[in-house]
């Protein structure tokens, strides 16, 4: 599993586009929002928590179809399925690689983008914490969606349709934690719910995703 993780990380960094793409998308989104809603600082700081979370969600979505599609095309997914590690473990490793390459940079850069959107200073810590706790769930659910659509020719659009409804609870709790932090309220309750969702996906999704992969490889 570690070897698989390392391999995916190397591939993502060397193939180009994988690492920076999500970040670039996030930056563009944060640039476009003020054009759309107007540059008033008050409005921006009020909607910043939601925008940042939705942006992270969409940036995550952007790189989802890379999780399994490339390996499916060149046949290495078949090898993974027959490898000594269970397919569930492979799913976990691949989701982890996706999280490290596309979600972790977002988490690190989010305070910076928060600056662009006039995010109140006291919301930075809850934003960081909620993204750190919540984004693994996004990667796991995304891996499930990618596993469902791996054999399809035009899977990308379908993938977003399947995955975005699954993201709803994560988004609600993540944005809620940030919003509460922004208005100076206590924000541990939504964070705990967020952690619960992440743990739930970590425990259940590998099985569902592996089942979907086995069906697609049959």
């Amino acid at each position: 599993m570690i070897a698989l993780l390392m391999r995916d990380l190397t591939l993502a960094t060397r193939a180009g586009g994988g690492f920076g793409l999500g970040l670039g998308f996030f930056l563009i989104l944060c640039t476009l929002v003020p054009f759309g809603v107007g540059p008033e600082g008050e409005t921006l700081s009020r909607i910043a928590p939601g925008i940042l979370w939705v942006g992270a969600l969409l940036a995550c979505l952007l790189s989802l179809d890379r999780i399994f599609a490339l390996d499916y095309e060149d046949g290495s997914l078949d090898l993974l399925a027959t490898a000594p590690i269970p397919l569930e473990g492979a799913v976990l490793a691949k989701a982890a690689a996706h999280w490290i390459t596309s979600a972790l940079p977002l988490v690190v850069a989010a305070p910076l983008f928060g600056l662009l959107l006039q995010l109140p200073r006291q919301a930075v810590i809850p934003l960081l914490l909620s993204l750190l706790i919540g984004t693994p769930a996004l990667s796991m659910l995304g891996a499930f969606g990618a596993a469902l659509t791996v054999g399809l020719r035009r899977g990308g659009l379908l993938l977003s349709l399947l995955v975005l409804p699954l993201y709803v609870p994560t988004l609600i709790f993540g944005a809620e934690a940030t919003r509460r932090g922004a208005s100076g309220m206590e924000f541990t309750t939504p964070l705990i719910f967020l952690a619960a969702i992440t743990l739930l996906t970590l425990a259940l999704i590998p099985f569902a995703a592996a089942a979907a992969l086995r069906i697609n490889l049959r």
């Binding site: 975005l164 409804p165 609600i172 709790f173 809620e176 069906i215």
Partner: protein, 241 residues
């Protein structure tokens, strides 16, 4: 003699063909009687005549949730026991459920306008129905996208399982996120919250009617799916010869 006998397509076609006229007749009888009776009820003292939307709204909303549950059970049966009729029934139910969700949303909007003064409110109940609709759309899209019918049944089954967990989660997350405007359950057993009898009885009729309507549509659609499957099998045999 067990219930699994009906998993045999031939047996299913025969029985459902015999039952179907009765179900269709019952659905028409209950729905039409319930709706007309509901339409003739006196206007509510607070909501006026708009209360009559309830006779369409409540049964549709009830069916929208229950059809997803039925799809969940059918998907489980397919995944565990691999009965084709079960998978086809789940496939046939999804568009009906999506339409029921749309009916509930649209009638809800038409009802909300005069009573709450707004067509749409980001209320937990309304929002979770919108999410439910998205789940239906995703489920139907996945069925359409996968070519091999058995793989499609498997994949949508897995999606239905995961989707059920997350539809439930969204529901409770939405309640956490926003306190609602929507009233409580229409059929509360708590005294004092109960509806007046003049509204309750036609509502019961409409609920039975909508359930039978769903059953009739489900049987018709499942039979069509089985026939499509048979035609495809026959065509495949023709080309092989």
């Amino acid at each position: 003699m067990s219930i699994w006998e009906y998993a045999n397509p031939v047996k299913f076609m025969k029985t459902s063909g015999r039952v179907l006229p009765w179900v269709v007749g019952g659905a028409a009888l209950f729905t039409v009687t319930g709706l007309i009776w509901g339409f003739l009820t006196p206007p509510d003292y607070r909501q006026g005549a708009s209360v009559k939307i309830m006779f369409l709204h409540v049964p549709a909303a009830m069916m929208a949730i229950n059809i997803w549950l039925m799809m969940l059970v059918a998907s489980l049966i397919w995944i565990i026991r691999r009965h084709h009729v079960s998978a086809l029934a789940a496939k046939a139910a999804a568009p009906i459920g999506a339409v029921m969700t749309v009916i509930a949303l649209v009638t809800g909007a038409a009802w909300g306008q005069p009573t709450w003064g707004t067509w749409w409110e980001w209320d937990p109940r309304l929002t979770s129905f919108l999410v439910l609709f998205l789940f239906y759309v995703g489920y139907i899209a996945l069925w359409e996208a996968v070519e091999n019918p058995d793989s499609a049944a498997d994949l949508t089954g897995v999606l239905c399982l995961v989707g059920s967990v997350f539809a439930l989660l969204s529901r409770y997350a939405a309640m956490f996120w926003n306190q609602g405007l929507h009233q409580g359950a229409s059929l509360s057993v708590a005294p004092g919250e109960r509806m007046s009898e003049i509204y309750r009885y036609p509502l019961y009729l409409c609920m039975i009617g909508f359930f039978l309507l769903f059953l009739a549509l489900l049987l018709i659609r499942t039979r069509t799916e089985i026939r499509i499957r048979r035609t495809a099998a026959l065509q495949a045999r023709e080309t092989r010869l």
